[in-house]
Structures are given as structure tokens and as C-alpha cells.
Symmetry: D4
Subunit: 253 residues, 8 copies
């Protein structure tokens, strides 16, 4: 760490009388903060916990993705590429033969550690089959963080019995990710049934007045059940990450 | 009916040879249509069935309301004034001592017939207590049309058991009016539980991203349960009228 | 039905003294509700009435559609696939040679019963020729439910005489489906002409400030004629289903 | 006109050899354009035709209105103050005893000429009674320009016969102003019935999803009938002015 | 005209004593209105004036366009197909060799009359070169109605001198069509410079916060200059038609 | 609990041979679910943990609030009334002398338990002083759940050093509530600095293009920092409740 | 400065051998950054230049404003309170007799320095008289920063000559603030006339489709003239501050 | 300059007595203003300073771009074509072999002068790598104006240390361009760190509730840091131009 070296050098020179206190003061005041290390612990922890770096592939060329991945892969034991289509997955795999493509989650994972999740408590629930890519992205993200994830899909509120059948499982979860498009009612209903935090993910599933997920987003923000918070439309990664954090708890941070 | 007199006169003059066929043809082509009577049956039916004329008091002065009411009350056995506040109700009652003010429904009713509803089948369900004025406006409207209305309030989806308790009643209804603000999930859940048509009424209950009922409106339009249709935000009258029509069926029209 | 078996077993064991009342109480309290059968009657009725299961093809791969269809087709005498393009219809027909593709309605129908509709009363009216796919989806849906459907297309309000020509037919309908894009005025005008319920369907027909059907949607929600309710933009299926329900009446539920 | 004096002076000095061509050139190039008179003809015409200057009272204090009015009243034979409430009208009348307050149109008029309108051809049609202030503002504006205005109010599309009764009058108009809130269908229907230009005025009449006139505005912009143009929500003055211009024709300009 | 025949027959039979007045009355009351001819004069006038029928090609297949065109072409001396791309123009030309494709206006014209416009007074002004298709559609429409159209393009407000150069022409116009995207300021500026009516056409030219023409639309609706009315985004046809009507005046209607 | 009595009775009668298994089966299948107790554990837990029932006072009359409070206060050791203005607090205090009004949080608390929070870990951070009511509502809610809450207000991103000063505290929190209006950047910046979950609360603080909190809401939903979830605009209670749940962890549920 | 003292102490102790290099390293790494002084220069400069601290009074009680003002007034030679109504100005003046209330700008100023602006170059232009409060807030802000401000009000684009008259002045400005509501065209027109940067301020002046300034905001963002940037609706302070910065240039920073 | 010739001629003829003062007056009053030269200085300056003419390629065919470029290239020493894709760059290069394509900035530059920028002071900062095309367009524009541009990319607020590392550079800039999508927080944070003007550029980077850059746009407009102004979404050119103007200062205008 060059910064720490520099700091040490300043202090050593002060100690050895080679640098005056005033001059040292002056130099310290102008050091870039990051070099004082305030962001370092984060990096340390990331390395230690093996939490994957994330690349949002959407809106990048396959070349850009590979180039960024190459850089990150040197510094991180795990790497997650989200919103990767078939083409990008091919290009990445060519470069990194160890890469795994989760086509439903539209995600590529590189993983040197190969550890299995050990912390139970995350449940991912989706309203319809079209919400699957988002739900899987959430589940995969939480798993990569070390969470054991229970999945229950296609239990929308129009067939309430399908959801109620899942109550015992829902009641056991420490955190529930509720994924839904259209009217986005699922998180409200789940929020009324369980006491665990609910991370709501609106999806762009639907047409017409769903306005690409706006209807579901607004519904979730107005949930009459407490304990519900919302992430961006189609943001499976964000939901999985937050739910993973909640489930892992303080010790994980 | 002056129009019919005029028509008769034309025909009589044709018969008597006082008017040529061409001239009669010409005059007939320019007669106002309404005078041909196409809208009359409506009026006749309205009078016969005693269905109330409706005045939306909101945005009118008490004087305007009384003035319009006076005119309508001559021609109709029943009169409904919606969105009437306390002040308007006072002014109307002064003019029409027989007027009844339903304060929860914010409605004034004048009724010469005094018949009780006879047709069971309409159920009004509301998510919260703040939705009550809208729900009551809907119920009152349907009742004035002759429908027996079952009310169940404060059964929002965040406490699903409250709603599920009402399932037997819901299953008996021929048409359900579901009133909800905030996330507006109630109609979707009910639509999945019953086979009867559901008239969904979004309300402006809520704050922030409810955007005065927009969130509930969009949610209801995107209901994943079939058999649901939506009326305007806070439009209890419209919902009650439509549900009443559906329940009374063809014979009522 | 495994649940009923389980319930029976509990009760039998109580009767035979093999299980205490307290223990039985405890077990009953934790049974999943659906297994208590509350959703079953729906399924029974659906089977009995032959009402089609529905798959929204849009946003699904042909393979997904076929896979879901295969499962549903085992359990249902009729099957409706909406928003199916030519390609999907081909793939479905290959798998199910009995499938019929209604290209205007963009719908595939599988039907073991082959019964003809018997209940008159539904009328579908559209403003323009571009609204046809939505109108046909509505008509087809209502027909599959057993309703005889009268169609009248291209009678927008800019040429009022075309609509007024249809008044006798409109007056005979028990429920009218009014389909319109652009300014969406058709349901208001029809709602003022007939006494039957009007199911309004905004379409995305138009450009510019139609904002993909938003203009028509808002117009219909604000209809000054009572008796009008609105479904989602382009939601022909939802309108047909609701109108079908209304027309079939209580006995159909 | 000081500008013309100055120009004359320059030219005279050039002629008299007191100013060089180059210097004159330089001075001419920097003259304010208005002083070259390009806006003057407008003012001349305004004075000649007696067309009123307009003050939008809304958002101004009574004092500000009076102060601006005093200035304009010196230069103009007529003065129109729009959106003036009772209080403003009182303050203005106190200052200008000749002022007339048209309470329905919420407008104050000062008029030295006192000429009656002479040009027939403008018809103002409104959908509901709540649209009256806007309709009256339009009518009054057109009248002040010299147009004879035919008014027909409360002929919304939900009671089509009321409108159709007015067809003969509508057919005689050279330009129709159609004022409507809620679903804003009136201009489309009128546009389909008459061949004259239709100036559509959306009003903020309505509630819920009317969004203060947005629904009516969008509907009117998407009118399926050609020959319709739209002004701002509640902009009766703008509609009256435009319709007046159209009716007066080229000679008026 | 079958209707007129029928009417004549009724009247003749009444005259000849073969039908009673009451019976005739009854039959007349139930005739479809259109058959009473109320829309006929329109058709007559259209034929007489040779005003083109219009087909909006956008959203229709080439086959549909040709099929509708074939029908209309029988009844009308002129035919206008708007928003026609190259492909549609080819298919139409194959069917109707006399068809002319105006590629800039994206319009196909069929014209048996071949008369040249005779009525001067319409001026079309556009802000940028990207607004050209809309401006040309407007100009072409007005020309087909018989108006001589003056065109001035690329005179946006950011280079005011380009617009001011056109003042003399602008001052001569009886009606100005102002076409602009982006900030849509052109109609306001023109509205302040001329006394003629201004038909404002917002276009979808722009990006980002232009929101496909919404910015220009709102700007034009809020024009601080009176005498401006607005049509739908990109609606060149509507603007041309309205301006044409205004310019032709009452005699044209 | 009457339901449990009824269940017991059925089972006892079965046991005693007074009711057949089939009959018992039938009766059980029609019992309301709630009575089967599925929601009971919630209630039990709520009582046990002393978590307060919540009344949203906004939109209710003081009388309604008192009436609902009276009912809840019988069944709950704690009661929270949110969005209570001075007037409501007075009326409530008159009825419940033990009520405490937290004027900054606009909340009334009734508390029989009087226990102090014991679980550290929640930190509430606000961007500006105008966000205080929302921040305090969040803090108070979390405290009533048993969480020790650290507050840091007025540390908006425009003065980053104020926020960075709080880093050590922020790093110790298990969950951070970030409250901000205007551009809503605070949660993104905090999300990048800490590894704990961040509950973002947009407020309606701001003017113009803040659109009553919409700007902040959208910004927070689009946070580039992972681990951030959003609640409704001004929803301090929801944020406090969710953060409280997260901090208390599974054992609290 | 306590931080500098602490730093000095550490360094001194290192120098004196009382603290080891490693220990000093550790302590330095955990110091709060602000204390390293990175934000200090700002404060110093603010004090030196006498630039006023700003309090947004809107949404604060008079007491809150006075309390914050008291604190800031100790540390700053100038103080600006924006959006202060009459009541707030009274309360502030009572506390600070030296306070000056600029009623048009709705601003209170406290100023110990009393220096007059010396730097010419800022011009504030407004479209209408209703935009005056915003324009004055902008002008006052820039003046307090030391800029000489030229004001020109009521020169909207509908009367272009009024604006063109100001061209010589506009051409001399180093930066122009253009304030406009309604269609917001003024900055585009000015941007095309001058080469200096234009700071555009949309105002909420207008009604209907101005949507509280949204129309003007969008127009300004889409300005076809380069060199224009936009601040929030009604944000006179922001515009004045930015223009002041630009005009003062680097030396002022 | 033909206009000046004409003016001179008039003046000369007046001088020589060949034209009367009145006649000259008349002719001067009707001259097109532009010909009076008011826009000319701009052109002169543009030529002198070599500032590039700009063509927005988006929405134009390659042929149109080349045609406009050919015309401008004759009159200008530099030419900038923005939003040019690969295809357009090829076509332009074929026509103008001296053209340079900056693929990241999506811009083609033609430059006869080939001078290097000399004025330091502009810094372009971007939040993410996806914002690069917009950032580069801004940088390139400012450089073409003669500004030396410092670039710092991928320093979004979620990793604050990356941004803080750049503080020394940021502090040296005379104007900062801050480019960001998603939550758009970057300009607010920078605005709080530096005293120079900040030109904020929202980008359409993001998904879901970013609504194509709307979220970032609103955030930037609501920046709590003063000294920030905003340009249109993705408008790199506009930002570069404005920042260039500010940096070059008065002497550049």
C-alpha cells in the first residue's frame, strides 16, 4: 500500500528529525483521503468474504465486459456479471473457461472459492413465470453471498391459495424477496402474512397501463403492510444483495 | 310532444294533398333527430323505474345545486346529490324538507317512492376506514336502484384473514365493488377468490407516491385476476351504478 | 385429494380415541388452507363449464407456451392462448394439431367440447379498424365462455351516423364492449345511448399525445356517462371475460 | 413617434450634408428594431379595431391589476381583465366606475366604444354547467372582437340528443368553440358533425383521473375528427380570441 | 339512395291513402337517422369539392391500405394516404398506377381532378430540417384542399434573424402553420409577430427531456401569444386540414 | 377465543361419537380461516413483544382517531398514532392522560410497558432540517420496537464533510435509515460508505421539480450503491419499522 | 482549530519519541477527514469574501428561521433568507433590527459589510410581471456576491420587439439570467441572440398545462440554442448564485 | 454584404438628392432586420474564433448530413457533427477525407485550423463508464472551442473515495462538467466540494425507474448544492459548449 508507506515515511522522517512538525502537518493535510485508508477496510472485507464484484453487462459491448472482468478477476475471488445475454456469456466463457452462465438469471459467475451457501433464511417469491429472470437474479446474488435461498415462483395474488400453501415456508424465512409485475400486490399480501422484512421488486412484466413496471412500483411503495421496502424495477441483483445483507446480519458486514 | 305533432301535421298535409311528397321529404330530412324520439324511451324508462337523477355537488354553489335540483325534482320521483358537504345538505334540506343527508356517503337523497331495495347480490368491500365515504356512495347508489347491498369494510390485504373471513359472503355476491386506496391490491385478491364481476374503485387514500390515487388506479387496471374493471378515482357513484346495473340484469334496463 | 384424506384420518383417529382433542386442534390450526379446499369449487366449476384456461403468450418463448399449454390441456377441456403471433401459433399447432389460430384476435384456441355459444347479449363495438385485434380478442373470449357476440367495427364518434345506425342493436345488448384508441370517446357516447353496462377498452391505437393509449384510458375513466368501467389498455381478453361474466349472470358463476 | 422623428432627422442631415453616409450607416445599424416600426402596425390596428388589451388577473394583487389597467386604459379604447374574482372586480370598479364585471366569465370589461358585435359565425358549446366560466370567457372575448356569438351549454356527449338538437345551429357556424372537461369528447363529436373549424378547450372540470384537465386535454389532442385544434386547459380567452380571428377573417387582421 | 327511396315510398303511400298517418308516424320514428340523410350533405360536399378521403397508413399492412383505398377511390375523386413508407407507396402504386408518392411528406395522393390550388393564404413554417416530413404533410394536405401554400423551413428561434426575414411573407398569410420540436417556441414567437391565426404542430424532433414531443406540445399549449391553437404531436395532416378550412372560409364548408 | 372453542367442540363431539367424521369434515372445510388461527401467532407475538398498534391520524377526524385508539388500547400494551397534529394530540391526551405527544415526530404514543430500548444498531441520518419530522417518526418507531437509535441530522451531500465526520458511527450501525428530500442523494452516498443495509426515505422537502418528493424517490430507486431499498415518500414510520425488524433480527419475529 | 492541534500534538510526540511510528500511523488513519481540513478553505473563503449564508425560509416556522439565523449570523458577515413572507420578515427584523426585507424578492438580507457590488456583467431578463419575485431573488443574490446586475423585465417572446430593444444591453452582459413561465421560450430566443452563457429559470407562472412550471422547464431543457443551462423551477437564488459565480470568474472562487 | 450596400446606396441617393427623405424613411422601415446586420457580428466572430458549426446527425440520413456539411464547410474553418454513428462517419469521411471520427464521443470533426486548445480550466467528470459517450462529447466540444479539458471518469458517488481522490484537480477547475445517469447525485456532491460552476448532464444510463434519464434529470435540478445548472439528458454537446463559454469568459464572446 503506497499510501501507508508514504505516511510511514513522513512519520519516520519526523521522528528522525529530518522533517519539521509544521511541514509534516502541511503534507498530511493535503493527502488524498482514500490514501488515508478510509475505503480500504471495505476492500479487505470484500476480499475476505469473497463477495463478488458486479458488472452490469447491459449497455456494454462484450469486449468492454471482458476487459472490466479481466481487471476485477485479478483482485476478487468471485465475479458476478448481471444482465448478460447469450452472446456476452459466450465471449466471457471464451476468455474465462471457468465462467458459468445462469441463463434464467441472465448472469455469468466466476468463482474461485466454490463454497456453498451456509446461511439459511432468504426466500424468493415471484408472482408469475415472466418474473423469473428477475427472481433468479435475486436468488443467485443472495446465494453468492453465502445465503441458502428458498424459491417459490408463480404464486400471484389472483390465486391466493397457491401463496397460502407457502405460508409455513414464508413464516420460516428471515427475509422475503417478493417479485411481481402487473399490479404488484404480492409484497403487500406477503407483508401482511409474515413478520420478516420484505424486499419488494417490481418487474416490467405486463402491458398497457403497467407502463413498464411503474404500476407495480407505485403499488409496492404504497404497501399498506409495514416491513416492506422497494428496489428499482427489474432490479433482482439489488434485492438479492439487500436481502443477503439482512440475512447475514452484522457479522457479515 | 311537439315533434310528433309536427310530424303528424306533415303527414296529414301529405295525405290531404296539401303538401307534395318532395317537399315533405325535404322537411323530414332536416328535422332534429331528438324530436324523432330516439332518446325519449330513456326518459320514459327512467320515470317508470324511478331511478334517481344525479347532481354532482362538488364545484357548484349551494344555490346552483338547489336550482338544478328543483328542476329535476319535478320530473323525477327520486333525486341523488353526490359529494354534498354539510353546508350544501343544509341548504337543500331547507328547500326540500323531505331530503335525507347521508353524511358518510356525502349524499343527499330525495325520494317520493320510498320503496325498499328488493334485489340481493351487490357486495361493497373496502380496504380501509378512510375509503368509507367512497364505499358508502357506491352502496347508497346501488340501493337507490333497488339492490340490496352487503357492506364489508376495512378488510385490506395487509390483514388477509379479515378478507378471507368474508369469503362465504363474497361467494354469494353477484357483483362485488372493491374500494381501495394506497396500493389498490384488494380487487386483484378478490378477483382471484370469486367468480362474480368485480368493479374496482381506486381511492385517493394514501400519501406520497400514491399520487392522489394514481397508484391504486394503475394497480387495479393491471389486475392479474380477470373479471375486474375499474372506474375513476373516488368514483363511488359510478361503481354503485354499474354494479347495480349488472345485478339488476337485462330486465332492469 | 390428499388434504381431505389427511383431515379424514385426523377425525377418524379422534373418533377412535387414537388422537386427543388438543392434539387434533393443534394440527388443524397449522394445515395449509388451500388443502381445506377453499379454492377447489372454482376448479370444479371451471371444469364443468368448460371455461378456458388462459396463457398470455407475449413475453414467453414458443417453448414456454407449449410447455404450459401441455400441462393445462390435460386438466381443461378448453384452452385460450392470447397475444400469440404467427410463430407461436405454428409451434403450438405442431404440438396440438387440433389448435385453431384466430389471426385477427392473435389467439390460439384448443377446444375439446366444440359447443357453440348459446347466450345472446354481448355486443363488441370498435372505433377504428386498427382496434380490431383487441376487439376480436374480446369477442372470442366472450364466445368461448358461451356468449353469442354481436360485432360492430369502425363506428368511431367522428362519424356519429355510423354509430347511431347501430342503435337498435346496441339497445338490445345486455352488455356492450366499447373498444377505442386515440381520444377514447366511444364508451362515453355509447354509455349515453344505452342502459346496459359498458366495458370500455382503451387501445394503443394513435400516436403522439395518445401516449400509447394513455389518452384513451384517461378519457374512459372520466366518462361523463354512468355505467362505464374500464380495463387495461389493449386488454381485449379482460373485457371479453368481464362482459361474458355479466351476460351469463349469476347462474354462470 | 420619436423613432420616425429620429430617422427623419438622420436622413435630413444626410441630405443636408451634415452627416456622412458612413456615419448614418453606423447609426442605422444600431437602432432598436422596434423603433424601425415593425411592431407599430399592430398597435395601430389594435387601436383602429378597438381590440381590447388583456390583463390576466390571476396571480396578481388587486393593486397590480389596477396599476397595469390604468396604464393600458390610456392607450386603448377597450380593456379586458380575465380571471378576475369578486374582490378584484370591486377594486377595479372603484378606480374605473365605467368597468363592467361579467361574473360568470370572471371578467372585467372597460369599453369606451360601446359598439355591438356585427359579425355572426362564432358558436360556443359547452359539455357541462361547470364549464360555464370558461365558455363565457371565450364568448365574451369573441364578442369584444366584434363577433356575434351563439351559446349552447350543457350538451355533453352522454346525452347525445341534446347536442344533435343543436345541429342546425352548429351547421351554420363558421367556427365552433367546444368546451369540455372530464373525458373531453365533445370536440371530437362536433368535429365529426360540422365542417367548420373547431377550437377545443379542455377544462379542469372533473376529479380523480381527470388530473385537473389533463384527460380532456389529451383526448382533444387525439381527436379522430379533423379540423380540431386545442388551447390550454381552462383557456377560454385563448379560444375566444382564436375563434374570433378565424371568423373575422383576413380583413380583420 | 335507398333511404330516400324508402322515405318517398312512405310519403307516396300516405298521399295515396295506402298508409295511415299513425302508421307512417311510427315507421318514421324508427328509421335509422343516417338514412334520414343528416350526414349526406357532408358526403355531397366532399364529392363536390373533391376533398380527399384520408387513410392513415401507419399501423396498417400494405394490403389493408390497398383494400381500403380501393373502396374509397370508387367514391372519391381524390385520396390521401398519410404516413406511408416507401414499401406501402410501392404496393399502392402497383395497384393504382396514377398514384403519386410525396416522399418527404410520406404521403400518397390519388387525384382524378388534377386541379391546382387557387386560394392563397396558408404559410407553413418549420423550426428545423427534421420537422420537414410533418411540415410537408401539412402543406400537401392544405394544397389538396385548394389552398396555395407558402413554405418556409428551418427558421427556428435560435436564429431569430432567419425568422424575422420572413416577416413580410408571414404578415401576408391568412393562417400560419408553425411546426417545431425541441422547445417548441416557434408558434409563440410567430404568434407575437402576426395577427393571423397560428396552428401549432409540435413534433417529436429532439431527445432526452423532449419526451417524444411532449416538451414542444406543452410549450405550445402555454403560448403567451394569443391566437395560437395546437394539434397532436407530428400531426401535419390535422394542421394542414384545419389551416385549409380556416383559409378557405365559410364558402368552403 | 370463540373459534378454538368451536373447534374443540367439534372434535369433542367427534370423539364422543356425537358427530360423524363426514359431517365434521364438511364443517371444518367451511370455517373461516382466521378462526383456524393462522393470524393468531402474529397477535400473540405482538402482545408479547409489546409492539405498538399504529393509527395513521392524517385524514381522520380527532373523534375517529380516539374511537379507534380506545379499541386498540384495550388489546395492546402500546399504541402509536402517526401524523397527528397538535389538535389531535390534545383530543387524544384528554381521553388518555397517559398519552405522550412527540411534536417533532408528529406522533402520539401510549405505553403501558415503559421499557427502554435495549438493542443498539439503528442509525437515522437526515439530509436537512426540514426532513426532521420524517426522520423523527422513523426513529421513534424503531425505538418503540426496542431498538436503540442513533440520530444524525442535517448532513446532506452538499456539505460532504458533515457526513464523513459521521463515518465511524455509520460504520457501527447494523442498519441505516437515510432521509432526504430534494435530489435524494444521501442514501447513495451512504450506501457507498457502509456495508449495512440502507433504508432510504424520500421526503417531500423541496419545490419545483422535486414534484413533492418524486425527484428524491426516483433518485433513491436508482441508487448506484447496492444495499439500498426505498419506502414511500415521507414514510418515516415504514422506514423505522423495517429498520427495526432488520436490526432485531430473526429472534424478534 | 482543534484538529490541527491534535495533529501537531501527534507529530510532536512522534518527534519527541513519545509515540511510535506505527501508533501514529494508526491514529492518523482514523481521524475524521473534515478535521484534516479539506472543507476548511471553503469556510475561510466564504468569510473572506463575505458571501452570504442562505436560509430557505419556506417550510420553516419563523422561530426556526430566527434560530438558524442567529447561529449563522455569528459566523458570517452576510446572511440571506430566501422565500421569506411578510410574517417571517417581521419576526426576523424584531430579532435583527439591521435586517432589510426585499419584499419583491421575498428575501431578508443581513449585511455587516455594506459593500456595493463592483463587478458588472450580470443581466436578469424576465418574460412577464408575474416572474418578478423569482427574477428579483436572482438579481439580489448576484448583487450580494458583488455583481452589478442589470434588470429588464416583461420582455416575453410574444412581443419580440420589447426584447430586441434590449439587444445592446444583452450583448454587453457576460452572463444572462432568463426567467420565464408559461411556454418558457425566452432563454432559447436570448440564447440565439447573445454569445454569453444563459442561465434559464423556469417559473410556475401559468395555469393548466403549464403544470406548475413543468412546461417551461422542459422547454428550457430542450432549448435549440446552445449555451443555455437550467435551474429548478422558481429557483431564482440558484440562478443568481450560478450567474454570479460565472461573472466573477476564477478569481472569485 | 448586400444589405450594407443597399443601405449605403439609399443614404448616398439621399445625400445626392436623388431620393427624398420620406421615401428613404419608408424603405428603411421595411428592410428585413437581419439585413440591418444585427446577426452578422455573430457570424464574424464565429469565423474569427474558428468555433465549429454543429450538425446533429441523429435523425438524419448520411446523405442529409453530407449535404449540410458540404454547405457549412465552405463557410467555416471547423465543423462538428454530433451523434454520428459508424455508418455516418464512413460516408462523411468518403466525402471529406480530412474528417476525424471520435468514436467514443460519436462525433466527426473537420478542422482546417488544427490549433490546439490553450485555455485550461474545464474538467469533465463522469459517474460511470456508460456515461462515457456523453462525457466525451462534452470534452471534445469544449476542446474545439479552445479549452484544455481535464477528464476524470467512473467516479460515481457510490465509491466516494474515487471522487475525493480527484479533489485537488476539481479544486483547480474553473468550471466542472458532471455527467451521471441513474440517481444523478454526482453534481450535487461535486457542487458541495468545489466553488466553481458545475454544469450537470443527466444521462439515460440506467433502467427501470430511471425512465431514460428522468430520475437523474430531476435529481440534478433539485441539487441542494448551489452553483449547479442542468442541460438536457445526454446533451454532452450543450454542456461542453456552455462550460467552454464560461471558461473562455467575456473575451471569448
Amino acid at each position: 500500500m503506497p499510501m501507508q508507506k508514504m505516511l510511514k515515511e513522513i512519520l519516520t522522517r519526523v521522528r528522525e528529525g529530518k522533517m519539521g512538525v509544521e511541514e509534516a502537518l502541511e503534507r498530511l493535510a493535503h493527502l488524498p483521503y482514500e490514501d488515508l485508508g478510509f475505503a480500504k477496510p471495505d476492500t479487505h472485507r470484500a476480499l475476505r468474504r469473497g463477495f463478488p464484484e458486479v458488472i452490469l453487462a447491459e449497455g456494454k459491448t462484450p469486449e468492454q465486459v471482458v476487459s472490466i472482468a479481466s481487471k476485477l478477476w485479478e483482485a476478487s475471488p468471485r465475479l458476478l456479471i448481471t444482465r448478460a445475454n447469450e452472446e456476452i456469456s459466450q465471449v466471457v466463457k471464451k476468455e474465462f473457461p471457468e465462467a458459468l452462465y445462469h441463463s434464467q438469471a441472465r448472469a455469468v459467475v466466476l468463482d474461485r472459492l466454490g463454497e456453498r451457501p451456509t446461511r439459511p433464511g432468504v426466500m424468493v417469491v415471484s408472482a408469475g413465470t415472466s418474473d423469473l429472470p428477475v427472481a433468479e437474479e435475486a436468488a443467485l446474488t443472495a446465494e453468492l453471498m453465502g445465503n441458502i435461498v428458498e424459491r417459490t415462483y408463480d404464486v400471484g395474488v389472483a390465486g391466493l391459495h397457491r401463496l397460502l400453501d407457502q405460508l409455513p415456508k414464508l413464516r420460516h424465512a428471515r427475509v422475503v424477496i417478493a417479485v411481481a409485475g402487473m399490479e404488484g400486490a404480492l409484497p403487500s399480501v406477503i407483508g401482511g402474512l409474515v413478520a420478516a422484512p420484505v424486499v419488494a421488486v417490481p418487474t416490467s412484466t405486463g402491458y398497457g397501463a403497467s407502463f413498464q413496471g411503474l404500476a407495480a412500483l407505485l403499488a409496492m411503495l404504497n404497501s399498506c403492510a409495514p416491513g416492506v421496502a422497494v428496489v428499482n424495477i427489474d432490479n433482482g441483483f439489488g434485492a438479492g444483495y439487500l436481502a443477503g445483507l439482512i440475512n447475514l446480519g452484522k457479522e457479515a458486514i
